[in-house]
Symmetry: C2
Subunit: 193 residues, 2 copies
C-alpha cells in the first residue's frame, strides 16, 4: 500500500523538477547564472521550498540545467564526427555551438568559466565535448581544410568574442554573431596552398 501511495507523489515531484529545469533554463538563458532563484521558483509555479528540496544550492541547479545543454553540445560534436566532409562537420559544429551560446547568456559563462567553477556531470560532459571537438579539428586539418596552426583555444577566443557580441550588441545581436562566426570561419579555412 505504501508503494501505491508513493507513485503519485513521485510523478508530482518529477513534474515539479521538470518545471524548475525549464524555468531555470529560461531565466539563466536570459539573465545569466546569477539570476535570483526566487524568480525561477515563481516562473515554475512552485514554492521556494520545493525548489530547495530539488536543488539545495544554486550550483546544483546550474549543474542540472547546463548538463542538459552540454549534452546537446556532445551530441552535436558526435554528429560532426559522422559528417563525411571534415570541413562541414567542423564548421557546422562551430556554427551550432555559437548559435546555442547566442541564445543563452548563461551557456557562455559555463563554456568559458574555469574548470573549478563547474562540477560533477557538467564538468565531465564539457570534457567530452572538448575531446570530440579536438578530434573534429584534427580531422579537418588532416583533410587540409583547416589551417594548420588552429588550436582548440581558438574556439575559446571565438566563444569569448561571441559572448561579447551577444551581450553588448542590441537588437542586431543575432545578425552580428552570425557575421562574426562566418568571417572567423573563413579566416580558419585553409587556403589553397
Amino acid at each position: 500500500v505504501a508503494r501505491v501511495r508513493e507513485q503519485p507523489l513521485r510523478a508530482d515531484a518529477a513534474r515539479n523538477r521538470r518545471a524548475l529545469l525549464d524555468a531555470a533554463t529560461r531565466v539563466f538563458g536570459e539573465r545569466g547564472i546569477e539570476a535570483p532563484l526566487d524568480d525561477i521558483a515563481r516562473s515554475a509555479s512552485v514554492g521556494n521550498a520545493t525548489l530547495y528540496r530539488h536543488f539545495p544550492t544554486r550550483c546544483d541547479l546550474v549543474g542540472a540545467v547546463f548538463a542538459e545543454r552540454m549534452r546537446d553540445a556532445v551530441e552535436a560534436v558526435e554528429r560532426g564526427l559522422e559528417e563525411p566532409d571534415p570541413w562541414i562537420g567542423f564548421r557546422d559544429y562551430v556554427v551550432g555551438l555559437c548559435r546555442m551560446q547566442a541564445e543563452d547568456v548563461g551557456l557562455a559563462d559555463v563554456f568559458i568559466s574555469s574548470v573549478d567553477a563547474v562540477g560533477g556531470e557538467l564538468q565531465e560532459l564539457r570534457a567530452r565535448a572538448y575531446a570530440g571537438f579536438t578530434e573534429l579539428a584534427e580531422r579537418a586539418k588532416r583533410a587540409g581544410a583547416l589551417r594548420q596552426d588552429f588550436s582548440p583555444d581558438d574556439m575559446l577566443v571565438l566563444l569569448t568574442a561571441n559572448a561579447g557580441v551577444t551581450t553588448r550588441a542590441g537588437a542586431d545581436a543575432r545578425a552580428e554573431s552570425e557575421r562574426l562566426v562566418s568571417v572567423f570561419l573563413d579566416g580558419l579555412r585553409a587556403g589553397p596552398t
Copy 2:
C-alpha cells in the same frame, strides 16, 4: 599688472588640467567610463573642486579624454590612407584600433555607444574616423584585397567581439585579442579568385 599676475595661474591651471586628463585616461581605461570621479581627482593629486572647475560634468571629462584618443584614431586612419598598399593600410588600421581598444576599456564604450551618447568634438572626430575608415575599406576593395561584401559594420562587429575578449578573458586577454583580430582579418581578405 593684471596680465602678469594671471600668467602663473594659467600655467598652474593648464598643469592641473593635464594631470586630470592623464589620470582620467588611466582610470577610465582600466575601469570604464563610469569610474568614480573622486578616484580621478585623487590620482591627479588635485582636489575635487579643481576637477569640477575644469570639468563640470562627467560628460565633459569623458569628452575631453576620448577626444584625445579619437584624434589618435583619426591620425591612424590618415596614415592608413597614405600607405601605398591598400591592404596593408587597411590591416594596420584595424590592428591598431583593436590594440588601442584592448588597452582601454573605456574606448570600447565610446566606439560602440550610440551617436547620442557622445557629444561635441568627440562625435565629430568619431565621424571623421568613420569616414576615413570607409575610404580605407573602399580602396582595399578596389584593389581586390578586401572581400567585396565587407561593410564598415563589420568593424563594429569586430570591435564588439574584441570588447568581449578584452573584458572577459583573464591574463591572456591581449593574446586572445590579437588572435581574434588576426583570424578575422584573414577572413576579410579577398581570396585569389
